[in-house]
Amino acid sequence: MALVLNEDQAMIRDSAEGFFKAEAPTTAFRKLRDSKDATGFDRALWKKMAEMGFAGVLVPEGHGGSGFGYVGAGLIQEAIGRNLSLSPMLSTAILAATALLVGGTDEQKAAYLPKIASGDLLMALASDEKSRHTPNHVATTAAASGNGFKLNGTKSFVLDGHVADKLIVAARTSGADGDTDGITLFLVDPKAAGVSIARQPMVDSRNAAKVVLNDVQVDGADVLGEVGNGWAILERALDAGRACLAAEMLGVSAQSFETTVDYLKTRDQFGVKIGSFQALQHRAAHLFCEVELARSVTLRALQALDEGDDRASIFASLAKAKGGEVAKLATNEGVQLHGGIGMTDEFDIGLYMKRARAARETFGDIAFNGDRLAKLMGY
């Protein structure tokens, strides 16, 4: 597929850019943050996002979604990155929707996908257990119990875990810690007995929660996919997350870069604009190149997911690895070139740096994703 947006996609991009700039700019982010809002996002905004087709971006039209696909989801995420907009987009519309699409039965799809698309159902993926992303490390157990399973374990860094109406929990039904075989995904009611959820305040003011499962009884019908074969579903959901986070980080990088270039054109020092200093010009020019590289890998990763390309995992890791490094560079350079005011909470550039850092850790940094892509390529 050509590495350009087609007309429909260009329209999605324009409408997403316009929407988030108007409806959820950084001032909205600050308001939620400073009020220590218990939900962590604006439910009215999420409703509007559903009306725009954003919540159902991956949901086929037959299930009430807009079916824009991953390229569409990435464009929405990019606009979210540009505006630091808060919403359950990643957890519900991307991670959970992908898991359901890949692994759900017809009944599960019919039950959940339309509600995701309409903005009425929030979901969260509870997979990570280690602080550094290691998805095959699943120590949470699912032991046979009655006509179902009993879950025990602790999940950390569960995005939107504290507001989710339904959790997707990765637990081990067989095999040893580290094995990919033997992992099973379960749809778990967060209000079920034995589930306790605590929100964790994060540096980027986004929602993450610790989920403790203590003898939580689930039914056989709550299994997503097949028992012991959850890994492929989990991988695909995480790859969707990686590619869409790369897109969000692209928005973060591009916005930080543009803000910084604007600052270089307006800030006076030593009687001239600081953008006239060649050392800063070269750094800005280099950063321009890096942002463009991030844009290319991100688009390829999103397209690969849409096409079912068998290298989709490689491209997702490539985009996540490169996108993360570029976002680090763009936000670090942004703060440094803003000087002292870049360090103040009053200016936005620091908010972008915080988000870049958190997005970089989520679903693996360059160490994880670089290693993964090399292994997938046989070295």
């Binding site: 020092q269 002292g340 909470d345 009053e346 290693d371």
Partner: protein, 394 residues
């Protein structure tokens, strides 16, 4: 060691034994326990106050300053003995102060005899807490473009303007401040160095919130503040010389900070958080990054050591000292980035139930200012290019 020095050591040891309260020999557990002195300082305990007062009375808060100015009047060798005896009993610092670190050295070099007699003993005894008024919202790296004006009104200056990044301005008693006394000459030549009471009518402050959270920094506003003319240090219009002297001083201090034994710790942290496999950190890519950083950090620590040893050997270190701030702060930022990577999602915590939750993320954010405050990395590279490499002006 000479007999006299041995004698001094045993006397010092005896005096410390008698005068350093037991509580002041326990490790400080937080920033809040730092003693800053000053008119309104809330001592955490009587022991903290006693310790400051006793050391202050002896002049040992500033051991090498002359006795006439409230100092200890110690020789370099004696000061070393005192410092080693303090370390021996693990004594806390009796007094931290911008007066000791910054204003004192400036007054000793540029102040009048009267000023030295008046201000230095107050600093030594922790009676007056000082803050530093240098940066302004528009000035940034171009410090000399400052616009806070001090108009000559015969018997006093009338100060108007605004400072920013004034550490602890809201807690300080007095300020040492760069002001423009002559707007008609080239920017470096119209600056003067002024001292005044923060309680003067027209002075107000507002705290600055950083990306890392609350900070000691303030914005400081001057609205028709009257300052007696004798409060000017040195020659009117020559304040820039004092500023440069203090900036160099500050750069060397900041560059030297934050190295310590961090080296050891990063590998330990990684081993604990990530685990070892066959004796090496299990994440090979992250381990490579850690090794590369450790190599640089160690090379930098050895360079600091070499600078010190070179100075001790009586050889010039000008060229070397100019790089410490630049390289040291860039390294520290890199170190915090790596610690964040090692921490993973734990490093992203902003606050939490456990003591220390959020320290890492806030420390990481705070470290980003290292290469901005006290002269940006860019300014330091300019300085090396110009003063050390003698490259032509752009």
């Amino acid at each position: 060691m000479s007999d006299a020095l041995e004698q001094f050591r045993s006397e010092t040891r005896a005096w410390l034994e008698a005068n350093c309260p037991a509580e002041m020999r326990t490790p400080q557990t937080s920033e809040d326990e730092t003693c800053w002195g000053g008119r309104n300082f809330k001592f955490t305990s009587q022991a903290q106050k006693d310790w400051m007062d006793r050391m202050g009375a002896k002049g040992w808060t500033v051991p090498e300053w002359p006795k006439a100015y409230g100092g200890g009047g110690l020789s370099k060798e004696e000061a070393k003995v005192l410092s080693s005896e303090l370390r021996r009993i693990k004594a806390r610092s009796p007094l931290n102060s911008f007066g000791i670190w910054m204003l004192g050295p400036a007054l000793l070099k540029f102040g009048s005899e009267e000023q030295k007699k008046h201000y230095l003993p107050q600093i030594a005894r922790g009676e007056i807490r000082w803050c530093q008024g240098y940066s302004e919202p528009g000035s940034g790296s171009d410090l000399a473009s400052l616009r806070t004006s001090a108009e000559d009104k015969g018997d006093h200056y009338l100060v108007n303007g605004q400072k920013v990044w004034t550490s602890y301005a809201d807690k300080a008693d007095w300020i040492f401040c760069l002001v423009r006394t002559d707007p008609t000459v080239a920017k470096h030549h119209g600056i003067s160095f002024l001292l005044f009471d923060m309680a003067s009518p027209g002075v107000s402050t507002a705290p600055i919130k950083l990306i890392s959270g609350a900070s000691p920094f303030c914005q400081t506003f001057f609205d028709n503040v009257k300052v007696p003319k004798e409060n000017l240090v040195g020659v009117p219009g020559k304040g820039w010389d004092i500023a440069k002297y203090l900036l160099t001083h500050e750069r060397e201090m900041i560059g030297a900070m934050d190295t310590g034994d961090a080296r050891e710790t990063m590998a330990q942290v990684a081993a604990r958080k990530i685990g070892l496999e066959n004796g090496t950190i299990a994440d090979a890519a992250l381990r490579t990054d850690i090794i590369r950083h450790e190599i640089d950090a160690w090379a930098f620590a050895l360079t600091m050591e070499r600078v010190k040893d070179t100075a001790k050997a009586g050889q010039g270190v000008g060229a070397l000292s100019s790089m410490l701030k630049y390289y040291g702060t860039e390294l520290n930022k890199q170190r915090m980035e790596l610690l964040m990577s090692i921490g993973g999602s734990d490093g992203l915590l902003w606050e939490g139930d456990n003591k220390g939750d959020g320290d890492l993320s806030r420390g990481w954010l705070r470290s980003r200012a290292n290469s901005i405050e006290g002269g940006t990395s860019e300014i330091n590279l300019n300085i090396i290019a110009k003063r050390v490499l003698e490259l032509p002006g752009a």
